[in-house]
Amino acid sequence: MTTKHFACKADEVPQDMAKIVTVSNMPIGVFRLEDGFHALLNICPHKGAALCEGPVCGTTKQTGATEFVYDRAGEIVRCAWHGWEFDIRSGEFLVDPAVKTRRFDISVEGGDLYVHI
């Protein structure tokens, strides 16, 4: 059973970084991607740092060759402190998907964004 909480106005979320909000006493980063808005808990499962305040960027694709295929631009957030890379859509840590930060459903009503907790 989730409850809908107002997060922020949609136009407050920049393209290339998270909008940090506090909802239901939780720090949450709201991201704008091409397919819409996404929300992650702003706490890194590694050491509790402000995960969503890190750079939104891409990463290199895993490959069997010595090559640097830059991939997924804008879909990854690196934790502000130690640089662990997380998938913005799933909250999963790229090195070990079993490690993840909590993600939240998000809905848009008019110009308002709501996080479902």
């Binding site: 750079p55 502000a80 640089g83």
Partner: protein, 360 residues
């Protein structure tokens, strides 16, 4: 709990803050001379490894010089109730990479004056490290005697990247001065490149993260060298602080040193005790970054083998990319008070003990 952060980096937005503290030839060199980085960078022989994301935390973004302190205060000192922050500068330890020891020394002097002038008065929690350029130990010793008398200076700081191992008699004037001034000698990870030997025994490694992980190699060399060359017999009061070089390797090197010394004591007849005994009395290691094994017991076994309860001191490395949060230090609970603050009081003897008692 009384918390001493033994590695708190005071940043600047631009090294031009040193201009007022320089004069003559070296001021000209500083203003118009060739630089390794963009304008505003500190001159140094640059390391071969580049951090692909930069060194600072991405939630620390100073715009004006004043922001450096304000952000540190908000995001670190106040947030975690740090009682004492030992300022460790940042770029200045890279002065050790310059071939010109006179310029390197002038840069260190300017930094020390700037640090004492600009940083120490900002906050009662600040205590300073003076930086010296060890490539000329006599100039370094003179600087220790010049700036080391300031009552809020608590240690002498160099990079762990060096031209030769720190126990070498070449460096002994530095320890003479440290002992005279009652200051510990600290080495912080850094200072690779320029005239300094590669920290990697087999030749340069390739990637930044790979290199950062194996930088303890250099600290191993310095630790063995300081012990073997009898530095602690010559200066029995001297303490050496090793900052940001990892710790879990320490027991294995001590085991090897003790075993080899037992077999070949005759090579170093000036030593009176086992290497591990010198270690316990004279070396202190900063926690950051503590190794992170899957099974924390594996780390704790290593810490126990190096008498970590007494040899470790808490450090955050604010605001660097491998910053350690006060609340996430994985050490045995019974050791916390010592590691977080009390051990530091024994090393940094200028810190007032009353502050610790008040915090209890």
């Amino acid at each position: 709990m009384f918390i001493v952060d033994c590695d708190c980096h005071n940043y600047w937005c631009s090294a031009t803050v040193l201009e007022p503290y320089m004069e003559g030839l070296f001021k000209d060199m500083f203003i118009r001379g060739e630089r390794t980085g963009p304008r505003g960078a500190f001159p140094h022989g640059h390391r071969p490894w580049f951090h692909p994301e930069g060194f600072a935390r991405h939630d620390v973004n100073p715009v004006e010089e004043g922001d450096n302190y304000l952000i540190m205060k908000e995001k670190h000192l106040d947030k975690y109730n740090i009682d004492v922050a030992i300022l460790t500068g940042d770029e200045p330890i890279e002065a050790s990479t310059l071939a010109n020891p006179y310029y390197a020394n002038a840069l260190c002097k300017a930094y020390n004056d700037y640090m004492i002038d600009y940083w120490l008065p900002k906050d009662d929690r600040f205590w300073g490290s003076i930086v010296v350029a060890p490539q000329d130990p006599h100039l370094a010793a003179a600087e220790i005697r010049r700036a080391g008398g300031h009552p809020r200076v608590v240690q002498v700081l160099v990079s762990h990247g060096a031209s030769r191992p720190y126990g070498d008699p070449f460096y002994h004037p530095i320890y003479e001065a440290c002992a005279e001034m009652g200051l510990p000698f600290a080495m912080h990870l850094g200072g690779q490149g320029g005239i300094n030997s590669t920290p990697i025994g087999a030749g340069p490694s390739t990637f930044f993260w790979e290199t950062h992980a194996i930088l303890p190699q250099t600290a191993m060399t310095h630790m063995a060298s300081l012990i073997a060359n009898g530095v602690f017999e010559k200066w029995p009061s001297l303490k050496v602080v090793v900052i940001e070089c990892g710790v879990a390797w320490v027991p294995s090197v001590l085991w090897r040193l003790d075993a080899n010394y037992k077999a070949l004591r005759k090579e170093t007849p000036w030593l009176k005790r086992l290497p591990s005994e010198y270690f316990k009395d004279h070396f202190r290691f900063s926690t950051q970054p503590l190794e992170q094994p899957e099974n924390i017991q594996h780390l704790w076994a290593a810490l126990e083998a190096m008498d970590g309860e007494n040899t470790l001191m808490f450090a955050s490395d604010y605001p660097h990319w491998d910053y350690d949060d006060v609340n996430k230090l994985h050490v045995p609970p019974a050791w916390r008070e010592k590691i977080f603050g009390l051990n530091a009081l024994d090393v940094y003897t200028r810190l007032p003990r009353a502050a610790a008692q008040a915090a209890e």
